[in-house]
């Protein structure tokens, strides 16, 4: 019967689905991208509904027992105007444990981004991204090769998509999904009892042999990366989300931290907008906020509160603080008042102006 032919064809088509593993690994980045597009209006209203924050606990502050909490201040006004919260030493910075890294990468690429998320569905995740070019602003566009390290994965072998080509990664069974002309290839394997590694490409064609070579060069890495900015205060029910460090050089580091209302803490009425409440805090050398805005003073520094009037910018609140010496802190909030945004800015723990953590040297490569 023709229905049977249709069903058979549909099953074959379903087998062409991209690996769920690849989709899952890209999800935090997609969520962040959706939020950025919402904030900056790149795609305008079409993406307006997609603003979301991966509202989960930051997984990566290693050495948790030995690292003091961020400079939590009970009330914002208690900070001395004009004085940044200054860690007294490197020990007060949060740290990201790198865990794994490649000994070889295709020529022309250098590490430009480290992003940590608590992916939730499949444990914690850290993504290291190698690019050909890195700028001072939003780091995600352009060709890249990423190594995603997912830890605390329950039954990791079961999470692998096995529809691709079976390959050997130093004795481990890996699965390779080649690019189909779209610059997206993926290679995933289990690296430990609770760890899944995946190398994926975006917007670049890398030959399979090079991806395999890179994968086979991956080994344990004991390095740590500093988190130079920490949030000292968030509204009730909010949690810190993803952490991204990038930049064209160590001295020009860009740090972004996102936070949002915890899904668990959401009140959950049918038409609640609480779930989309989020904030992005970026400290870098440039801002992507709109120009102008009401002049304010935050942390004793000049600040401004630009307002978007276009449809895509409706509901977004911006606060830009000039930290001095070319450093700018940009807060973009949704579902949050300017007062709360200001309080987050006032109580964020920042390093001294001009401070460059020694372990950001990877940005200079």
């Amino acid at each position: 019967m023709i229905e049977d032919l249709v069903r058979t064809a549909q099953e074959r088509q379903a087998d062409r689905a991209v690996p769920a593993e690849r989709l899952l690994a890209a999800l935090p980045q997609r969520a962040a991208g959706a939020r950025r597009r919402r904030q900056f209006g790149v795609l305008g209203a079409a993406m307006a509904a997609a603003a979301v924050v991966v509202a989960v606990t930051v997984p990566v502050v290693a050495l948790r027992g030995s690292v003091p909490e961020p400079a939590v201040v009970a009330d914002a006004p208690s900070l001395s105007p004009g004085v940044l919260v200054t860690p007294t030493g490197a020990a007060q910075l949060g740290m990201i444990a790198i865990r794994y890294g490649p000994a070889w990468i295709p020529s022309g690429f250098s590490e430009s981004i480290r992003q940590a998320d608590s992916a939730g569905p499949s444990g914690q995740s850290l993504t290291r991204v190698w690019k050909k070019q890195a700028g001072a602003g939003d780091p995600w566009s352009g060709a890249s090769i990423a190594l995603t390290i997912r830890t605390e994965v329950v039954d990791p072998a079961r999470t692998l998509d096995t529809s691709g080509q079976k390959v050997d990664i130093n004795g481990a069974e890996g699965w390779f999904s080649p690019s189909r002309g779209d610059g997206k290839a993926a290679l995933a394997w289990v690296a430990g009892y609770d760890t899944v590694l995946m190398i994926s490409t975006s917007h670049v064609e890398v030959i399979a042999a090079d991806l395999l070579r890179m994968a086979r060069s991956v080994g344990p890495a004991l390095a740590l990366t500093s988190v130079p900015v920490l949030l000292g205060w968030l509204p009730d029910g909010w949690e810190t989300g993803g952490v991204t460090i990038s930049g064209p050089s160590a001295a020009a580091w860009r740090y972004e931290i996102t936070a949002g209302r915890s899904p668990v803490a959401s009140p959950g009425p049918e038409k609640s907008v609480a779930d989309s409440s989020s904030v992005s805090v970026v400290v870098g050398t440039v801002t992507e906020a709109p120009a102008g805005g009401e002049k304010l003073t935050v942390r004793g520094r000049p600040a401004r509160h630009p307002v978007r009037t276009d449809a895509a910018g409706h509901g977004l609140t911006y606060l830009v603080v000039d930290l001095g010496q070319g450093r700018v802190m940009t807060l973009t909030g949704e579902g949050i008042t300017l007062g709360d945004l200001t309080r987050i800015a006032e109580q964020a723990a920042l390093p001294p102006i001009g401070f460059t953590p020694k372990d950001l040297g990877w940005l200079d490569h």
Binding site: M1, I2, E3, L5, V6, R7, T8, A9, Q10, E11, R12, Q13, A14, D15, R16, A17, V18, A20, R22, L23, L24, A26, L27, R30, A31, A34, A46, A49, A50, A51, V52, V54, G120, P121, S122, T159, D161, R180, D182, K184, P263, S266, P267, G268, E270, S272, A274, D275, S276
Partner: protein, 169 residues
């Protein structure tokens, strides 16, 4: 069911479903990701539903049809004569394989809404009434899409593949 539980247990099925609905693995990837990002933001509501997976699948098909509306130019009407060009004139030694390939190519030429309907009917095994509810249309509309899709496929397939009793009633 939490969002994390949903994703960890249902993502594979969801992306396969999206691939059948869209008939394009990479579009399915994009649409699934977009839908999951939106679904996560609303999960406090979706997670309390009796059938959250059905709701997310509805989001996928609606996203696909919206996407198609935004890019209507990509829907190219194709005549049966044109479709003949996709098919071998006679069966060859690899006939069975070719027949399956022919069906794959033919389904790709169906209008998006017809393709979505046959995905829901034959891949998801949903009843016509359920499909109508999912697409927000009348059951007669679903039956029309279904009949037209099958007639198109049947008319374009080599006669050796379709017997007389299979003609749509």
């Amino acid at each position: 069911m939490t969002f994390e539980e949903f994703v960890s247990t249902r993502l594979g099925n969801l992306v396969r479903y999206a691939t059948v609905v869209t008939w394009d693995a990479h579009l399915a990837e994009d649409i699934t990701q977009n839908v999951l990002v939106r679904a996560q933001a609303r999960w406090s509501r979706i997670g309390r539903m009796d059938a959250p997976e059905l709701y997310v699948k509805r989001m996928v098909v609606n996203e696909f049809l919206s996407w198609r509306r935004r890019r209507a130019a990509q829907s190219i009407p194709v005549t049966a004569e044109t479709l003949d060009g996709f098919l071998p004139a006679t069966r060859d030694l690899a006939a069975d394989h070719d027949e399956r390939d022919a069906m794959l190519r033919l389904i790709a030429t169906l209008p998006p809404r017809q393709r979505a309907v046959i995905a829901l009917r034959f891949y998801e095994d949903l009843a016509v009434e359920q499909i109508a509810e999912m697409l927000g249309c009348r059951t007669v509309t679903v039956r029309t899409h279904l009949a037209r899709a099958l007639a198109t496929l049947q008319g374009a397939l080599p006669a050796t593949l379709v017997t007389a009793e299979e003609l749509p009633r």
